[in-house]
């Protein structure tokens, strides 16, 4: 094991400092060190997108980034997006439209969709499908995920989408 490296970043609005193994992935830092287990791991090859979170406002598969690469950044995870009683429109949309079944892909899917809506607040069905093609879901056939994103877009159009 090589010498730990100092890491300083902001996660969900909170300043964090840590000594991390240089090889540690951002997703493992979030899950294992910070206990933010809403960001999931579903594959070894950056295909599934279950680990999607935001780094400096852009969606990132957190298994493709070393924790040290996130030094100095602002990271947002599903836990920071919205909580019960104060749901992000996408979280509300997924609930309303039955956009999840087992729920395992859901946090990553919502984070990817949040980035999509940030860039395109009123996407068409096709734009949603292409915008989410980096995230795999085995349960829903994506139909209700698309509906959930449309629902959130409608709820948010004309308003700033809270990120």
């Amino acid at each position: 094991m090589s010498t730990p490296v100092h890491l300083s970043l902001t996660v969900n609005g909170e300043k964090r400092e840590a000594e991390v193994e240089p090889r540690q992935l951002l997703v493992h830092y979030l899950r294992d060190t910070l206990g933010l287990t809403g960001t999931h791991v579903g594959c070894d090859t950056s295909n599934c997108g279950a680990c999607t979170c935001h780094v400096n406002g852009e969606s990132v598969k957190s298994c493709t980034l070393l924790a040290v690469q996130a030094d100095g950044t602002e990271v947002l995870t599903i836990e920071g997006l919205g909580q019960e009683g104060n749901l992000h429109p996408l979280q509300a949309g997924f609930w309303e439209k039955h956009g999840l079944q087992c729920g395992f892909c859901t946090p990553g899917m919502i984070m990817a969709a949040a980035d999509l809506l940030e860039r395109n607040p009123d996407p068409s069905e096709e734009e949603i499908r292409h915008g989410l093609e980096g995230n795999l879901c085995r349960c829903t056939g994506y139909e209700n995920i698309v509906r959930a994103v449309r629902h959130a877009a409608k709820a948010s159009v004309g308003q700033e989408v809270p990120a």
Binding site: W95, L132, L136
Partner: protein
């Protein structure tokens, strides 16, 4: 009880599209999946696996691994041999048929039989240290010839997966009804077709994983499983731990699709290693481990012969199925190909059906149940030969189907195999499909597109499924020979203040049963669904149960809840009657009130009744025990038979062969809806799974038995961009088998 006698319901929540109570924690990242759990002092296990498809283990050197940083222990199969009282079992013992079943131990000694076969485990303080040290275990493997193709495996002179059997054939099982030989000799038309159902992976997005926590003389196993009670029962035998000392808990489980309907080597290994080290031990598979060592599905070749008259009347069907079972018999491996036999004739009146199944060993991971499990395979070949017959007769394929449908007035319908289809309206489903999908408009659009060089086509399928697994007398030891039963349990407990807890033996992992179970119980208890807490997946809570698979949890598990809740309702009526000085038969439940018939002002709520049942204000009659809690063990009298009609529109690039699904229509009938929103979700997922199998997914081994599709890079799950929007609809034909009239829908789309 027929559906017409079903209780009207206290509040009418059954039938409503209620939002899921499971969702708030999952959309906020507060689910509790196996890899989210960490216990004090927990160690991590990595599994050293065979890179060879078939080899003799000549030596295993673990010294370097043992010396690696953070490593607490390394164990080989030899070292743990004494920790297992028995091998991983296979539970099918059909009367009169021997099934070659090799001993299947969690860690291999002597030989490995497929890529991924476990040969050692490394336990370390962190997951990374365990994985690093696993790479330092040096196993000398002397390769042997591997056999990959099931038909070649049956040829004389093929390398043998298991030499002691002298053959790669595992077993042969058949079932027949009517006289197919006569049908063949008298056939005006005969259709023959070889149909391949290739190997697939369940591929839930959550990988498998387990944590064992030893404590004094007992152990708790947390596991991402569909069948916690069965896992406990089996491990109790394998590891000689009394069932009362072994608790199995399924936390939030991130999808199963059959891949978690299993008792796996790693579940036994974490328990053994945790007990040895007296510390909690966690193992979570990598995606590559999932692809190589979570059981696969399908992998069958069917040789189908269909006979008919020239007017399109079907006279018989015969299928000889060769099923590639892989290297070991997992819990249901040899039975899965046969599981579709009850619906071998599809929706059609075949006077003669003759089925024969041959299982084959190959040097691959075992196959077992994956979404549909035997029924999609059978539906696929029935529908394929129906279309081929239509072409041969130059007949409209839908007309051919209509001509041979079991008519809606012909139920219950007994097939030549003695299976009784409970209820159906196959033509009604097809009619509704064609209301939604305008075939004439499609044909004119198709012609226009063809002129532009776009080749668009539509395929239809009508199907009947066999669900509600299962009537124990039909599939248990006295029936087809599974050494198991398939009833389901439910316990309904009303608390003194009137809210309730429902314990189910089902173990959902995405189906939304917390929500639909609460709807069922709430109606029968006269309370709100929000007042019903649903507990499942914990062997220390509630009675034994058989888990969630085979589209069984609503029609068997939900019915058990309905029955237990009705028993509670009966008792509540007695208590109410005693307090209101009326006869119990005069108490009725409506709109959340138990009231005396004809005197609506004399009424009580469930909270008032339950309070009185627990803390009686006056003495209750001697025949009424205190408390308000009932249990039901429901064993269905028959299967249930959902059905439907689907249409899939595709564009085919005739230059490259690329197929794009452009439209999809479905009509499914799973009886009356408990929660229509959940049904729609199940259908969507099933359709996507089916399109995945048809166009994108395949588990591929090369000729040497190396797994080619070991990651999601090579094993392509469909993404949102590959799939069209689905147009789904339903008809509702109640089943007479259960009081809810429900039939199950989890596998319909596949």
């Amino acid at each position: 009880m027929s559906v017409t006698e079903a209780p009207a319901g206290g509040n009418g929540y059954v039938g409503r599209a209620m939002k899921r109570r499971e969702d708030p924690r999952m959309i906020t990242g507060r689910g509790n999946y196996i890899d989210d759990m960490a216990l004090p002092g927990m160690l991590y296990m990595a599994v050293v696996r065979s890179p060879e498809a078939h080899a003799t283990i000549t030596s295993i050197d673990t010294s370097e691994a043992k010396a690696a940083p953070g490593v607490v222990a390394v164990f080989t199969g030899e070292e743990l041999a004494g920790d297992f009282a028995g091998p991983i079992p296979m539970v099918w013992d059909p009367p009169g048929v021997d099934i070659n079943t090799p001993e299947h131990w969690p860690l291999k000694r002597g030989e490995v039989k497929h890529v991924g076969d476990p040969i050692a485990v490394v336990v370390a303080s962190t997951k990374g240290q365990a994985a690093d040290a696993a790479d330092l275990v040096i196993a000398e493997l002397d390769p042997k010839p591997a056999v990959v193709d099931p038909e070649k495996a049956l040829e004389e002179g093929s390398p043998l997966v298991w030499e002691q059997f002298g053959t790669n054939k595992t077993h042969e099982w058949g079932v027949a009804g009517g006289d197919f030989d006569q049908a063949l000799s008298e056939a005006e038309v005969t259709i023959e077709q070889r149909v391949v159902n290739h190997r697939t992976s369940g591929a839930p997005i959550e990988p498998r994983g387990s944590i064992a926590e030893p404590r004094a003389d007992s152990v708790t196993l947390y596991s991402a499983t569909q069948i916690p009670h069965i896992v406990r029962f089996v491990l109790s035998g394998m590891l000689e731990i009394p069932e009362d000392k072994l608790r199995v808990v399924a936390p939030d489980v991130g999808g199963g699709f059959g891949a978690k309907l299993q008792v796996y080597a790693e579940e036994a290994l974490v328990v053994v290693v945790a007990k040895r080290l007296n510390r909690p031990v966690k193992w979570v598979e990598t995606r590559s481990e999932h692809m190589s060592t979570s059981h696969h599905g399908r992998d069958q070749i069917a040789y189908v012969t269909l006979t008919a008259r020239r007017d399109g009347t079907l006279t018989g069907v015969r299928a000889k199925v060769i099923a590639d079972l892989g290297a070991y018999q997992q819990i249901l491996t040899p039975f899965i190909p046969e599981l579709g036999f009850p619906v071998a004739g599809g929706c059609y009146k075949f006077p003669a059906i003759d089925l024969n199944f041959v299982g084959v060993f190959t040097n691959k991971m075992a196959t077992d149940a994956i979404r549909g499990a035997g029924r999609p395979e059978m539906t696929y070949w029935v529908e394929l030969v129906m279309d081929k017959l239509a072409r041969e007769l130059d007949m409209d394929p839908l007309e051919l189907r209509r001509k041979n449908f079991v008519g809606k007035d012909e139920f219950p319908y007994e097939t030549p195999l003695g299976i009784v289809y409970d209820s159906g309206d196959y033509e009604g489903a097809l009619d509704k499909l064609l209301e939604n999908f305008d075939l004439d408009a499609f044909r004119s659009e198709q012609a226009e597109l063809r002129e532009k060089g776009i080749h668009r086509g539509v395929g239809f399928s009508t199907y009947v499924e066999v669900c509600g697994l299962a009537p124990s007398r039909a599939v248990g030891p006295q029936g087809v020979g599974l050494q198991a039963a398939f009833w389901e349990s439910a316990m309904v407990r009303v608390h003194p203040s009137g809210s309730a807890t429902v314990y189910s033996g089902a173990s959902p992992h995405g189906q939304g049963l917390d929500t639909s179970f609460a709807q069922i119980a709430a109606d029968r208890l006269g309370i709100e669904p929000d007042q019903v807490h649903v507990i499942h997946g914990d062997t220390d809570s509630g009675p034994f149960g058989w888990g969630t698979y085979g589209s069984r949890s609503l029609s068997v598990g939900g019915e058990a809840i309905a029955r237990a809740a009705e028993k509670v309702q009966e008792k509540a009526k007695k208590v109410c009657a005693a307090l209101l000085e009326a006869a119990p038969e005069d108490i009725e439940l409506a709109d959340g009130k138990f009231s005396v018939k004809g005197s609506p002002d004399k009424s009580m709520t469930m909270a008032e009744i339950s309070g009185a049942a627990h803390i009686p204000p006056n003495e209750l009659p001697a025949d009424i025990e205190p408390g308000l809690e009932e249990t039901s063990f429901y064993d269905p009298e028959n299967f249930v038979f959902p059905f439907g009609a689907h249409a899939c529109v595709v564009d085919v690039d005739v230059e490259t062969g690329k197929v794009k699904v452009v439209d999809y229509y479905s009509v499914d009938d799973c009886g009356p809806a408990v929660n229509p929103m959940l049904i729609e979700g199940q259908v969507h997922g099933g359709i996507a799974h089916a399109i995945g199998q048809a166009l994108y997914e395949q588990v591929v081994y090369d000729d040497e038995g190396q797994l080619v599709t070991g990651t999601f890079v090579d094993y392509a799950l469909p993404t949102a961009a590959e799939l069209p929007s689905f147009n789904t609809d339903r008809t509702e034909t109640p089943s007479p088998v259960n009081s809810l009239g429900v039939k199950g829908v989890g596998e319909a789309g596949t």
